[in-house]
Amino acid sequence: MYRVRALTTIAYLSPMIVGVGLISLYPIAYNVFISVTNQNLFHFRRYSFVGLANYQSLLKTLDADFFIVLARTFLFVAICIPLFLGLGLLAALALNHPAIRFKAFWRVALIVPWAVPSYITALVWKFFFNGEFGTFNQLYRLVAGPQAGLPWLTDPNWAFGSIVLANLWMSYPFFMVVILGALQSIPSELYEAAAIDGAAAWSKFRRITVPLLRPAILPATVLSAILTFNTLNTAFLITAGGPFTSAAKPGATELVMVYAFREAFQLFNFGYIAAFAVVIFAMLFAVTLGSLRFTGLVREEAR
């Protein structure tokens, strides 16, 4: 760390600061501004100030869209993360087993879902789930007869589960890679010493593997939870937020970002959704800051 002339500092920082200021910071400030106006499709140019009315309608009752969508997204994250983590952990443990041959092959094959662009993942799974031509119902008809079909995307609960499945496919490799890296950095002496002391496989796993994996798993989980909270492609492209049971209520797979996208770019309620964005952002930023304190997700930034 060294001191340089103020002019040098400014020269080095300015491209980034000016850029970030103009194209990242200014839009965020502008978003706060829109959130106190009634800008929408009917008042696109001639909008007026409405104070905190958008925030009020956002939070007015417990059955407001905001809380429905938020609760549903929390549920989505709460279901997804253990599945991602569990499958990723199993795959990593399998890949790390000393008796397994051709590790490079298995590893690359299992990472493939991570490498697929997420919009393509979504559109392919959307086809799998199709009631008539979808592969899953084609398979199901083999066992259940030609008239059968499961409501993959047409029943609210099934649709929610389908989205979880598509996201599981896409997301477990991240945990697998993180955990595999951590497993490989555990010194084998620890296991050998435990074996000499007569430890069983399960207690080796409990007492050595799990504690030593924790520092890698914790930040990965926080990051994945935030990304899963922000899911858009693999929900919107598959179900468009539906199925919808009532015109006045959010659809069954309308997660936070799907809701924001629909309200903004299909219904054009800019003022309202800007207020929504401010509240969601405040939550996400609090989580980010909080997670920094206890996981070291971004280390030593305070130095």
Binding site: M1, Y2, R3, Y12, L13, S14, M16, I17, G19, V20, I23, S24, L25, P27, I34, Q39, A91, A94, L95, H97, A99, I100, W106, V108, A109, I111, A115, V116, P117, S118, Y119, I120, L123, V124, F127, F128, E132, F133, Q138, L139, R141, P146, P173, V177, A220, L223, I226, N230, N233, M257, A260, F261, A264, F270, A274, A277, I280, F281, F285, L297
Partner: protein, 278 residues
Amino acid sequence: MRVLSRYGVPALIYVFLTAMVIFALFPAFFVVQAAFRPGQSLYSLTLSLWPDHPTLDNFTYIWTKIPFPLWLRNSLGISVGTMVAGLIGSATGAYALSRFRFAGKQMTLILLLAIQAFPSVLALIPIYLILKTVGLVGSPFGLVLAYMSVALVFCTWNLKGYFDTIPRELDEAALIDGCTVTQAFWRIILPLSVPALAVTALLMFLTAWNEWVMASVLLLDENTYTVPVGLYGLQNDYRVPWGYFAASSLIVSVPVMALFLGLQRYFRSGLTVGGVKG
């Protein structure tokens, strides 16, 4: 018991791994077979895992009858633009944040963190309205600007993180020997950071190449579409063979998947990548 752990456990693991590989690769296999499937034959009620008469018709069609080559060119231009502008815009700033001591540094870092916590879908709302006001909705340049709002912050974090790992003694010694700050940056830091610069650049490229949401809102004319927007339109209508979508998907994703799989050994930690793959 010993026999079980000698043979039984590995056998079980192989069964599990095989099941996982089927799960992991089936969608990719499905797209490949669909790409070679003629006409509407995919729209069938019964399962068929390989076309009876494989054909290249879908590839010929997308290459000659729809603006797919144009979408590829648009995507390439926009992704390269985002990548280059993101790196150039962030490298010196990342260096300053890693090495200089100045007032407001802490503030800057927290600000960058806050911006990164702002989901791009939500950021798209004000960006759309601003671009609309200045008449850049529909323009590829507007889309690059929108991508830059993510790219600059991401590149700054990523590069600063890498610069921090370069031993300070190296550039400090150079400064004591009479090097200027600029020389230390160009002659010491940048050459040592080539792998990090390359990985950051490629991640930026991949992010822009694979981005659908912003592009779908900010591009209006079929001739300015990037590949993701174009592909979205190819799969939404059951009168159009899904094979067109499958063939296009193969062409756009095989190279970037190869790149991603080849590079993943060099990712400093999965976390950096996880943060950007959208």
